[in-house]
Symmetry: C2
Subunit: 304 residues, 2 copies
C-alpha cells in the first residue's frame, strides 16, 4: 500500500488525508431527523447518520485526496451498529478508489496481536478467508514492543498493507511518557529507532517502508529531527488544522523531494460548514470539499 499511496499522492499532488471522525453534533439536522424518524433514538440511527454523512463527504473529496482515515472510536462508542457504519464507510471509500487507514491504535501481546492482525490479514474459517475490516493500513501503539507489532509485518508484505506506529503523538500530555529522557534520548526517539528497524522487514519499492510512524504536527522541531533519523519511514501526521498546526510547521517532516508524509485533517474538513457560514448545513459536503481544496493549496508549496 505504501507504493500505491505514494503514487496516488504524486498523481493528485496532494498528501492530505480526510479524517472521517464524525461526532453526533456534527451531523446536519436534516440527516439527523431523517435517521431518528426511521430508526428511533437508537445506536442504529446514529450509525446510519455517520454513514450517510461520510458517504456524502467521500463523494465530494474522493477525486482530491489519496486516502481517508477513520477513527474507530467514533464508531465503536455506538457498539455493533457503529462498527457496521465504520466497515461500510471503509468499503464505500475503497470503491471510490481511496486508500483506507483504520485509526485503531491497537497493541497487545503476541498471541493477541495475531488476532488484531485480522484488521489487515482477514481471518480464516475452515479454509475460507474473510476480510471483515477492509482497511489498507492501521495505526498501532508501541508500548508492548516488537512482539505486539510482528504479527502485522507478514500481512503488510503478503497483502500489500501498511501500519503506522505511534512515535510522537499530537496531544498535550503525550509528552508525559514520550519525552522522558532515557540514555540522553527521549522515549519517543527510542520508539522511532525501533520503528525504523522494524520497517526494514517490510520495505516498499519506492524507498519507504510499509511500517510507518505517527508523528504529530504540533511538534515541529521533533518532527524535523525524526525525518533525519528515519529516512525510510513514512509519516502519518495528525494535528494539522483543528489541532493548530499549519503547513509551515510540518514542512521539515517531508523529505527533500517533498515526499514521505501524509497529513490528516478531520474536523477542519468534515465540520468545515460549521465555521464557514457561506455554506450552511445543507451544503456541508461542499464546505468539506472547499476546505479540502484549501488544505491542498496550503500543502502545495511542500510538494515539489
Amino acid at each position: 500500500m505504501i507504493d500505491r499511496l505514494m503514487d496516488k499522492i504524486d498523481q493528485l499532488k496532494n498528501p492530505a488525508v480526510v479524517g472521517l471522525d464524525p461526532l453526533y453534533e456534527m451531523i446536519p439536522s436534516m440527516i439527523r431527523e431523517e435517521m431518528l424518524e426511521r430508526y428511533g433514538k437508537t445506536a442504529k440511527a446514529a450509525a446510519k447518520m455517520f454513514l450517510h454523512f461520510n458517504q456524502e463527504i467521500i463523494d465530494h473529496v474522493y477525486d482530491l485526496v489519496p486516502a481517508v482515515k477513520l477513527q474507530i472510536a467514533m464508531y465503536e462508542q455506538y457498539g455493533i451498529e457503529g462498527l457496521a457504519a465504520y466497515m461500510e464507510t471503509a468499503a464505500y471509500a475503497k470503491e471510490k478508489g481511496l486508500i483506507v487507514i483504520g485509526d485503531i491504535k491497537r497493541g497487545d501481546i503476541a498471541s493477541t496481536a495475531a488476532a488484531y492482525a485480522a484488521h489487515l490479514a482477514g481471518v480464516e474459517i475452515e479454509g475460507i478467508r474473510i476480510d471483515p475490516w477492509n482497511e489498507d493500513a492501521v495505526t498501532l501503539n508501541p508500548y508492548l514492543g516488537f512482539d505486539s507489532i510482528e504479527p502485522f509485518i507478514e500481512p503488510c508484505n503478503k497483502y500489500d498493507k501498511g501500519i503506522f506506529v505511534l512515535v510522537k503523538t499530537s496531544n498535550p500530555s503525550g509528552k508525559e511518557l514520550q519525552d522522558l529522557a532515557a540514555d540522553g534520548l527521549p522515549v519517543y526517539e527510542h520508539a522511532a529507532r525501533f520503528v525504523a528497524k522494524w520497517g526494514e522487514l517490510a520495505m516498499g519499492a519506492r524507498g519507504y517502508s510499509r511500517v510507518g510512524a505517527v508523528v504529530g504536527a504540533t511538534y515541529k522541531e521533533q518532527g524535523e529531527e525524526l525525518r533525519k533519523k528515519m529516512p525510510q519511514t513514512f509519516f502519518l501526521i495528525p494535528g494539522y488544522g483543528a489541532q493548530g498546526a499549519t503547513a509551515d510547521d510540518i514542512r521539515g517532516f517531508f523529505d527533500r523531494d517533498g515526499r514521505g508524509c501524509i497529513v490528516n485533517s478531520s474536523r477542519g474538513i468534515i465540520a468545515a460548514y460549521k465555521k464557514d457560514k457561506r455554506f450552511g448545513e445543507h451544503n456541508f459536503a461542499d464546505a468539506a470539499r472547499d476546505a479540502a481544496i484549501l488544505m491542498k493549496k496550503d500543502l502545495e508549496g511542500i510538494m515539489k
Copy 2:
C-alpha cells in the same frame, strides 16, 4: 466496581479471573460442527461457537471466581459478528453475577478517548443513554498520557466502573520501551507513578482506587517493587499459568492482607481439556472448572 470486586474476592476467597479469550482451535468439535452446519463457513459461525463455548464455561465457574476478562481482539478479528459474541458473553457473565473486565487496551487523544469512554459510560442519543458494551472495567494503554485516561475517570466515579492501565506487561518484548531507564527509573515505573497519581481521582471505600494497573506475573521483583510504590493501586495480573508464572511468583504483588490483586488465567482454564486428558472435549467445561479449582487452591496460600 473496585469495592464490589474486593467484596466478591473476600466472599469467594479467590482472586482468580477467568480469561474468556477463545481461539478457533480451542472449540470442541461438536460445537464447531453444530455451528458450521447452522451458519456455514462464516464469521457468524465462529462467533456463535465462541458464545456457546463461553456460556458453558461461565456456567461452570461463576460460583468460583469473582470476575471474567474478555480479550476483545479474539472477537474483533471476526468483525461485527465476533463483537456481538463479545457483548453477549459480557451480558451473560453479568447475569450470572460476574464482574466483567474488557481487555481492550485502548489509548488515544482526549476527544477520541471521550468516545472510547463509552465502553464504561455508554453513549447518549437525544437524551437516551444506551450502554452497548456492558463492561464493569476496561484496560487502557498509557503511552498518550493523562488526557487519554482522564475521560474514563468520571464514568469510573459516576457509574462505579474501573480501569486498569498498562504498567509492566507480561510479554517478552514489553521491556523494549518499558524498561528504558529515565532519570534512574525504568519507564514503567514512571507509568506507575502516573497511574498512582491518577488513581487519587477515583478512590474506592476500601483503600484501593478504581484506577488500577496491569502488572505482568512474569516479572516477580518488579511486581513486588511496584506494590510498595503503589499501595492504593489494584493490580490486574496477566501471565499466570500458560505464560509460565506461579503463585510464588506473584505472592509479593499482594498487600500484607493478601489483597490488592486479581490474577488472570485464560488458556490455562478454558483450554484445560486439551492438556488434561481425563476429561475429553465433551467435558471441556468440567475441565475448566477443575482447572479453576486448582488455580484457587494454588492462590489460597496468598489470601489470608
